[in-house]
């Protein structure tokens, strides 16, 4: 399995996030004394990852991000995805009825379960979904061994 190394480095500004945290803190303190307000942050973006014989694939939902808002890097056994989305202030004279979409910065790092060819990594962003393809090096690709007739 992959190991989740860290939480987002910066708090995502979401409406009610502060309330959630306080509530978590108040209720949590009664049931879980170690649940200190602010200690819990949410993971963003959520990731799905899978692999086949050729590569490992990592997928994140990043709606409203442009290619230039996202930065992906592999360092050793760690894959890091960083990004930023600005929702912007509502112009004057605008009545904000609902604001659920967040804005801010995120950073997530996962530990790769096997070495990858980082130089041949590809990233595509389509319809708000980021997909990374991390090819496996030849030495870890499965090989079929022919059985000879004795």
């Amino acid at each position: 399995m992959l190991t989740l190394l860290n939480r987002p480095t910066m708090e995502l500004t979401r409406p009610f996030a502060e309330f959630d945290r306080l509530f978590d803190g108040l209720v949590g303190a009664m049931t879980r004394p170690w649940a200190i307000p602010g200690w819990q942050t949410c993971l963003f973006p959520t990731l799905n990852a899978w692999h086949d014989d050729k590569a490992m694939y990592v997928e994140a939902e990043l709606p409203g991000f442009r290619v230039e808002d996202i930065d992906v890097s592999v360092r050793g056994e760690e894959l890091t995805v960083r990004g930023r989305r600005e929702i912007g202030q509502a112009p004057e004279g605008t009545n904000v009825i609902r604001q659920e979409r967040w804005s801010g910065e995120f950073e997530r790092t996962i530990r790769l379960p096997f070495p990858v060819e980082a130089d041949n990594m590809t990233a595509t962003l389509k319809d708000g979904v980021l997909t990374l393809t991390l090819p496996k090096p030849a030495e870890i690709m499965p090989r079929k061994i022919r059985v000879k007739q004795g």
Partner: protein, 134 residues
């Protein structure tokens, strides 16, 4: 304990949204921003994985329903390493008062975000009355 950002809305599967269909249909509820100004309403919805073709916007009376079909992206034979989000169709409904011009509603889909503009009808707009000093 790990908290996922979108557990609160995205992961809530709503089987109750399709009454009378005889089968249980579940949807994800997209996160939205809704703004109103003098000209009308603007709805922004995060619908990653949808496409312009897969989105339907239907006005029924004063209710606008947004539906988006989202195909599965993970191959069925995939050997999963990490599964933090599920993928599925989106649905969310918005109710307006009677002051909107349904026929002039417009929508645009860019990078997984749908923007819907629904103008108000002329008589519902605030009118500034010029005051002349005599």
């Amino acid at each position: 304990m790990t908290t996922y950002c979108n557990t609160d809305t995205r992961a809530i599967r709503r089987a109750s949204d399709a009454p009378g269909q005889g089968k249980s249909v579940s949807f994800f509820r997209p996160e939205v921003d809704v703004y109103e100004d003098d000209a009308g309403f603007r709805i922004l919805a995060d619908v990653p994985g949808a496409t312009a073709d897969s989105i339907e916007l239907d006005f029924d009376g004063d209710t606008l329903t947004l539906t988006a079909r989202v195909p599965q992206r993970t191959p069925e034979s995939a050997r999963m390493l990490l599964a933090e989000h599920q993928v599925g169709d989106y649905r969310r409904a918005f109710r307006f008062d009677h002051s909107v011009n349904k026929d002039a509603a417009a929508a645009e889909f860019v990078n997984g975000v749908l923007t819907v503009t629904v103008p108000k009808i002329e008589s519902a707009r605030t009118r500034k009355v010029p005051i002349t000093i005599g």
